[in-house]
Symmetry: C2
Subunit: 342 residues, 2 copies
Amino acid sequence: MATMADVARRAGVSAKTVSNVLSGYPYIRESTRARVLAAVDDLGYEINVTARILRSGRSGLIGLAVPELGQPYFGELADEILAAARRHGLHVLIQPTGFTREGELGALREPRRRLVDGLVFSPAALDQSDAHLLENLDYPLVLLGEQMFSRHVDHVTMHNVEGVRAATDLLLDVGRRSIAAIGMLHATTAGSAALRYLGYREALGARGIAVDERLLGWADDGWHRANGARAMAAVLDSGVEVDGVVAFNDALALGAMFELQVRGRSIPGDVAVVGFDDIEDARYSVPALTTVDPGRREIADVAVDLLRARLDEVPGATRRPPVLHVADLRLVERESTPARAS
Amino acid sequence: MATMADVARRAGVSAKTVSNVLSGYPYIRESTRARVLAAVDDLGYEINVTARILRSGRSGLIGLAVPELGQPYFGELADEILAAARRHGLHVLIQPTGFTREGELGALREPRRRLVDGLVFSPAALDQSDAHLLENLDYPLVLLGEQMFSRHVDHVTMHNVEGVRAATDLLLDVGRRSIAAIGMLHATTAGSAALRYLGYREALGARGIAVDERLLGWADDGWHRANGARAMAAVLDSGVEVDGVVAFNDALALGAMFELQVRGRSIPGDVAVVGFDDIEDARYSVPALTTVDPGRREIADVAVDLLRARLDEVPGATRRPPVLHVADLRLVERESTPARAS
DNA sequence: ATGAAAGCGCTAACAA
DNA sequence: TTGTTAGCGCTTTCAT
């Protein structure tokens, strides 16, 4: 395969000049540039990126660590991150962590192997006690979609608590009082599940309603549809009355709706349902799902911008203090909940 | 940041010995290995993968080019490919091509830049006239999920035609005669759309039914739910009678079901619906969607195996002739179609 | 505006 | 079982 030296020889210039042309260095005579590009074309030359990275120390690749692409939320998020990165000439290496601690620790080691310049990381298995693992890293890191881990790291997060609280308030506003929470996890103490449960509890508490344990639907195997259906079934089987459902993500909500309809409950007549994420499916379920749009596009844009800013920081100079960006969130009312009396 | 030389110094060995330990070379005294690993640990050393790739010429990375991760079929497929690769110690660099010709041509150039050793490619924008672009490449390539492009390239495909034909036959078997086809594309002549349409036409033809143009639902903007709903609406608005729907993928089917239900048609009573892909959503839609399982897991496994075999081929020796693997496919009957009289 | 020399960090090839 | 030497292909630094 042709190397830069081959191109240089053919164009009658030095390798450095070829390098200059290919990396957009401006002070090159137009005729020289043309000859170089012609030689590149003739030889079908493609630059060897590993050599370039090794020498320059920068890859233009950013890592994206998410649990699983098959979950529409993360698949759609990955597409948004990729698009944002591309707008700035960056590429993305995706590392699914499989919801495992091991996977997440592996992703955190990756930038030190020098293939990616920095990392956008959406933790799902690590918890607050691991905060120290995210500090004092020697590469740029942006954390996504979770609560604060550390004041020393850039975060792009969403109003988890307020989002679920608003969702629950909507159900309360339309008169529902037996509201199930679908998506409880035993494992984490401070992850999305805990925060979203908090929003649920706060909303009930503000109206003096106690949490009924029988209304809590557990989904320790992950926030998939199957588990939403299963958790809903468990709640219904407990014999408790249910007239509303707050699910901690849309997949759970869709699974729960499935189970409700299988059992002949009408939505929203018998049971009103709210989700979280606003994935594409939510718009086309039957009935269309009322849900919380967490501002995925904004999250992706801001995350990439924060990372870029860190990548451009000069080592010596004082660095910008860590940022906590909370994306705007919006309750999207559709058919799975009755209209509020206005 | 520590280099291999630093580790070597600390362990009192040569750099080559460190290299040997880290790459699993077996003939090393146990005590030496222990000392090296201790030094690695002490220094928090991580290998520089770009240097390793540059020197060895192999990266252990395979490229995966798919249109878009937000589409559940591709998100789920990506997870399967990643899992299959990991089982063999390979990593995956995902390149979404955005359904564009430019994106796909870019992905095809990537391995020549030497970061990935080979490519698993699911084309969506290229067509038969581009077959020559896929031949005589100087790296291993496996094509996915489409028709044959060239006898000179490994393919892992599915029974597109037979799958849709079986789906259409099911509808015909239960007495439906006005069957809409959702997902027609003007652009491609030999892509999935064309093949799936062919299956539809064949099934009708075998029973002497002519294709009614008004029953063809176009989705040139992509096989998303929104377009399934839109195409279904267009068909219904044409005034033609409809008692069955064959959608060319599940997202389209779910969108079509949404539109049908919005208009008060019962499923499967008034209209029976069949999809293609068996994404997770299909199991939990209301009603649960009858669909064609294309054998995604098998496709991923076989694709990675074929690529691995090519990567291991010795340059001089005669190479295995190209393989065309057609994954097994299964019609999954759920609630969106009536049971067949047996 | 272009070139020459050096070296990024690792492993192939060979030697011991 | 371990070490030495060389060099992968590029960009940095410095020179002109």
